[in-house]
Symmetry: C2
Subunit: 388 residues, 2 copies
């Protein structure tokens, strides 16, 4: 969704276009022969050969050993390079930091997370352990022949198009911080001057779910202290007009409900965020809640069911607005079990107006999704665009 | 937002691309010289001349008289042809039908509407007066040198990607009807075998608002018996994954509220649709309500304020999800006056989480928007794509 118009098509544009087309074809069909790439793209064999040579030289594509026992000149199948360019994802959560490197195929090659008590501290309190962790994963990936070509930082807040964190109620000292610049400076000793972008953790988690096989069209809900959503449409993240779409936590489920940190009242976050759920259940933490719900404790079951219903009401509204046919319950929500998912599903089935069945399913990635998605978004851009 | 990948770029593709580029440039800059088109597109003068000749022959572009008094060969500025290809829009409302012809510039050249008591009747009851009305506007436009190149029908319901009306609670006999085919058959005696598509009236009304200068990013709310929304992002309609986005009327504003025609409870439509508002106000129709609100009648002011607040709650949720910075109140809502708009604005200001100011404004087109938008969407597609 963009208003930009393409310019006239010329010789260089055509080559760049076809280079990207060949790379995407290798990504989609690997391992794949040059002949098949030619057949799939409609380009001539000669053109494909020349473009593949360029991709080999840039390290984007690798040749596998030729198939043995085939008469004549052996064919070397192509695949995305598992060494060479890689994506770095880092996450600054409410009470943890993480770093992750994926190869061009999106496979995780190194990943570490660590608890960090930086919630009410200035950015440096999170950036210091983050830089240490990043150095570790980058070294680990480097040992496997990978070099970081770009980085994305995931944060629990609204990241503006300029990379500035506009709202992060649960990371108050990060408010109005230029995240891309700050994280970039902190990581420069480790990764040099690679471009660092910043994104919302719910959006990035949705991308990871997409890579893990969800989609192409779904709403990913990330449950935690806050409640965020990432929308994937046609296999791509939906960002809205200003890059801040998906603030499901501040959809109203009870107009006269309790005040919310956003200044409004009765937002979903006040019904389905983890803190009000634990309060309603009368337990101290998520593990205790999960255990009690499984054991059938009435108060805990009621708390989780109530939260699921509230989420279902908000999700149904979102589906009616966005027309997407599937919901993935992610973040901490998978830990609330089928009691929660069933309550969500029941409200969604009742309230979605169009007739297609809506799928409600629980994330397979859970709380690790945003970190993976951050790293994968780097390589997704490398593969979807043309190599520089 | 599409998952489709472009194929390789070749000679024919490049010409088609550049033809469309020249047409869009004429549309954006008219009246415009060939030299300026060349400068804006980056194409050579010779290429532009040849492409313009093709567009002149197809009737998409017209030459104005050359500028006088200029020495040397006079330049004939180009503009979109005001005769030639035209767009037909038709509307089947809950209690009226309409037809409208616009030229390639989107200007209305013929428009008629008529009340029609077809609400609980089979489709033929609306199609008969519609065909009569269409014959009249097509004749009127034909007298101005316009010929219909395509048609779009606007309906108050969810139109699936296949042109079938999936939900139209206020036109029950149209449910599951292939609207594009039925309207196409009814209009064939008038317009021959031009392609007829079908769309949701709220989406098409949003497009008309866009053409009238709103946007590029806004939510258009169409108030009536039902409440629908059209979303425009980057100047283009946002359709969601399945073409049915924008069902704002079935966003929940009160989870335990009154049952709704959709099977849910407490949908916005039960608070901000015209019927509950008139009931709460205790008046018979919209004119009486508007008069009473203006006179300060307490019950009517309270009814309109309550509806505006409910709409504001739902709109704020939609803005948080979609990240659009503006709302246009259309359909019958402009008739409810500033009392209504102020209540909407107040809730939106309270509940939108990101900090950009949100603009709430009242539509200038009101109930005529969908019909115009239907016709304009035809020419928009003609100008955005290349002529056949």
């Amino acid at each position: 969704v963009t208003g930009a118009r393409p310019g006239p098509a010329g010789q260089a544009t055509v080559r760049r276009h076809n280079l990207a087309l060949v790379l995407r074809t290798v990504a989609a069909e690997e391992p794949v022969s040059r002949a098949r790439v030619a057949a799939r793209t409609g380009l001539t064999r000669g053109t494909v050969s020349s473009l593949v040579d360029e991709l080999l030289a840039a390290g984007f594509v690798a040749e596998l050993s030729p198939a043995r026992g085939v008469p004549g000149r052996p064919a070397s199948p192509l695949q995305l390079n598992r060494a060479g360019p890689a994506g770095l994802g880092v996450e600054i959560g409410v009470d943890a930091v993480g770093a992750c490197v994926v190869d061009l195929s999106g496979t995780v090659r190194a990943l570490r997370t660590v608890r960090s008590g930086h919630r009410d501290e200035p950015p440096a309190a999170a950036l210091e352990p983050l830089a240490r962790l990043t150095a570790e994963v980058v070294a680990e990936a480097g040992g496997q022949g990978l070099r970081v070509a770009g980085a994305v930082a995931a944060l629990p807040g609204v990241v503006g198009p300029d990379g500035v964190l506009e709202r992060a109620p649960n990371l108050p000292r990060w408010h109005d911080v230029d995240v891309a610049a700050r994280v970039g400076a902190a990581l420069a000793p480790v990764v040099g001057d690679v471009v660092v972008r910043a994104g919302n953790e719910a959006d990035l988690a949705a991308l990871a779910e997409r890579e893990a096989g969800a989609g192409p069209d779904f709403l990913h809900v990330s449950g935690g202290i806050g409640v965020g959503a990432g929308v994937v449409l046609g296999g791509r993240p939906f960002h809205g007009a200003g890059g801040r779409a998906g603030e499901l936590g501040h959809v109203v489920v009870d107009p006269d409900g309790p005040p919310c940190s956003c200044g409004g009242r009765g937002c979903l976050e006040q019904s389905a965020g983890l803190e009000p759920v634990l309060r309603a259940a009368g337990v101290a933490d998520l593990d205790a809640l999960a255990t009690a719900v499984e054991a059938g404790d009435a108060r805990c079951v009621a708390a989780v069911t109530g939260a699921g219903r509230a989420l279902g009401v908000a999700v149904a509204g979102a589906l009616n607005l966005l027309d997407v046919p599937a919901v993935v319950l992610g973040g901490a929500y998978p830990r609330l079990g089928p009691t929660f998912a069933d309550a969500v599903e029941q409200e969604v089935a009742l309230r979605v107006v169009w007739r297609s069945p809506v799928t409600v399913r629980v994330s397979v990635l859970g709380e690790g999704a945003a970190l993976r998605g951050a790293a994968q978004s780097v390589v997704r851009e490398l593969v979807d665009g043309a190599p520089a």
